[in-house]
């Protein structure tokens, strides 16, 4: 998935110690116990049900499985998923 441009950007980010999530447009994911998942910089929601949420990001599809999942907030930049989270994984 990484292009030549991405590699250059990564190099610059490393060199200048810039935060990588901004330069490389990566999602920033914060997991609060198994209660809440906070995804910053997502690219849209692909699937949503109470046991499975799939969110598109730059690095692939983020799959969240669990039970009683609800979307607390959703705006262009961020999603907050609450419920009982069992698993978080990336699918390429």
């Amino acid at each position: 998935m990484e292009t030549r441009g991405d590699l250059i950007k990564k190099g610059i980010a490393d060199l200048l110690e810039l935060p990588r999530d901004i330069v490389l447009d990566l999602p920033k994911i914060t997991l609060l116990g198994n209660l809440q998942l906070y995804i910053e910089n997502h690219k849209g929601i692909i699937e949503y049900s109470t046991s499975l949420v799939r969110v598109n990001t730059k690095t692939g599809i983020l799959v969240v499985t669990g039970s009683c999942l609800t979307i607390r907030t959703i705006v262009v930049e961020e999603i907050i998923i609450v419920g009982s989270i069992d698993r978080v994984e990336f699918l390429q």
Partner: protein, 400 residues
């Protein structure tokens, strides 16, 4: 998070139900159109429940057209809807506004006139006088010139030295200071005797004018003539003068004090709690939530009544109790210390009782122990004081 929720509530939001096949696409489209969604809940495969702001809901229509789905409102929440519902009930709103206006109207009157600081003059008399100057229950506040009323009352009532009127809400609080009356002085041209105002033994007698009727060492009784205004000298006509002089006598005061040997001190820690009660009729209701948490405390109770008009009192009272936390300490006093303490107390009481310029020359202390670990202390104070009092001579009587 709470702030956001309050904000949403103020702005108003709706709970919607979305039915369709590709609901994820619906969400994605909505957020790219800057529609704010929250609390999204999947009900089943084809249904979704979510909350959306009012503004967002209006924009949803364009999305709804692009995707095949049905949006229906389940519930409307927030201020705008609440206000709308309230304003539909015109009579209620009108009633509310009228109530506020009536309240405002009624608060522009004085309802209670309170007099503070009077000792000898009955409060009702002052209230009656104030009524004549326009300060009475039912008076319109803007028409009352408190300064003017103060001056008028001062002129009208001689016994007053100072008057201050404060209008606090619907109460007019009248603070007064009474004149302390000087003892009646007899004019120097009027003949008089000097008589004893107390029992005692004469210590010294200085006669400026008149004739001494007693000498030092004499025992005297109340009302006895000390310096005679009628001067009789052999070979001269009887003269009647204004007797003047200073009669110093030893007088005694006996005071009794009981002192418990078990001394309990209650010292306030500075911690305070308040309890608010409302008494309606005979029932008292607690208004504040908590009970007093202190183990030892002193209670001060303050009762506030609503307006009193004519003989009608509102059956509602507000009772405010203040609890001051205290530290209770117990100690046993030795007898000598207890006597000392009692004597000090009596001395304090005595200085409160005595007129000025009185010298305490001696004291005798007797005590007996009574039951319940108390002692009874009798203290006899010997004092030196001027016991002279001017008394007018009735001339007519003399001429008989």
């Amino acid at each position: 998070m709470l702030a956001v929720r309050i904000w949403n509530y103020l702005k108003g939001y709706v709970i919607i139900k979305v039915e369709g096949i590709n609901l994820e696409r619906f969400i994605n489209l909505a957020i790219t159109n800057n529609i704010y969604f929250w609390d999204i809940e999947r009900v089943n495969f084809t249904t979704l429940k979510a909350r959306v702001s009012l503004k967002g809901y209006k924009h949803l229509r364009s999305i709804r057209k692009r995707i095949n789905c049905m949006v229906s409102i389940l519930e409307k929440r927030g201020c705008p809807f609440l206000l709308h519902r309230i304003f539909k009930r015109k009579a209620l709103v009108a009633g509310g506004i009228t109530a506020v206006l009536i309240m405002y109207f009624l608060t522009s009157f004085v309802w209670v006139v309170e007099v503070q600081g009077n000792e000898r003059i009955p409060g009702e008399r002052i209230v009656r006088e104030l009524k004549a100057f326009g300060l009475k229950p039912g008076a319109f506040k803007p028409f009352i010139d408190t300064r003017e009323v103060e001056t008028k009352l001062l002129i009208e009532m001689d016994q007053l030295v100072w008057v201050g009127i404060n209008i606090l809400g619907t109460r007019a609080v009248v603070d007064i200071v009474e004149r302390t009356e000087a003892p009646p002085l007899i004019d120097k041209s009027v003949p008089c005797n000097i008589v004893a105002k107390k029992d005692g033994i004469i210590n010294n007698i200085y006669v400026y004018q008149g004739q001494a009727a007693v000498k030092s060492g004499d025992t005297i009784k109340v009302g006895q003539v000390l310096i005679n205004g009628v001067v009789e000298e052999p070979g001269k006509p009887i003269r009647v003068v204004h007797a003047m002089g200073r009669v110093e006598a030893r007088t005694w005061y006996q005071l009794t004090e009981e002192q418990n040997l078990r001394l309990v001190t209650r010292e306030r820690t500075g911690q305070m709690q308040r309890g608010v009660f409302i008494r309606v009729g005979g029932n008292t209701f607690r208004f504040s939530r908590k009970k007093c948490a202190f183990q030892n405390y002193d209670t001060e109770t303050e009762t506030r009544r609503l307006i009193e008009w004519r003989n009608i009192t509102a059956p509602v009272e507000l009772i405010i109790e203040k609890y001051y936390e205290v530290i209770v300490e117990e100690e046993f006093l030795p007898v000598a210390a207890a006597v000392d303490r009692a004597v000090k107390k009596t001395a304090q009481r005595l200085t409160g009782m005595l007129p000025q310029e009185v010298e305490i020359t001696d004291r005798r202390v007797k005590y007996i122990e009574t039951e319940n670990q108390t002692i009874r202390v009798d203290v006899i104070f010997e004092t030196l004081e001027d016991i002279g009092l001017e008394e007018r001579i009735n001339i007519n009587h003399r001429e008989d």
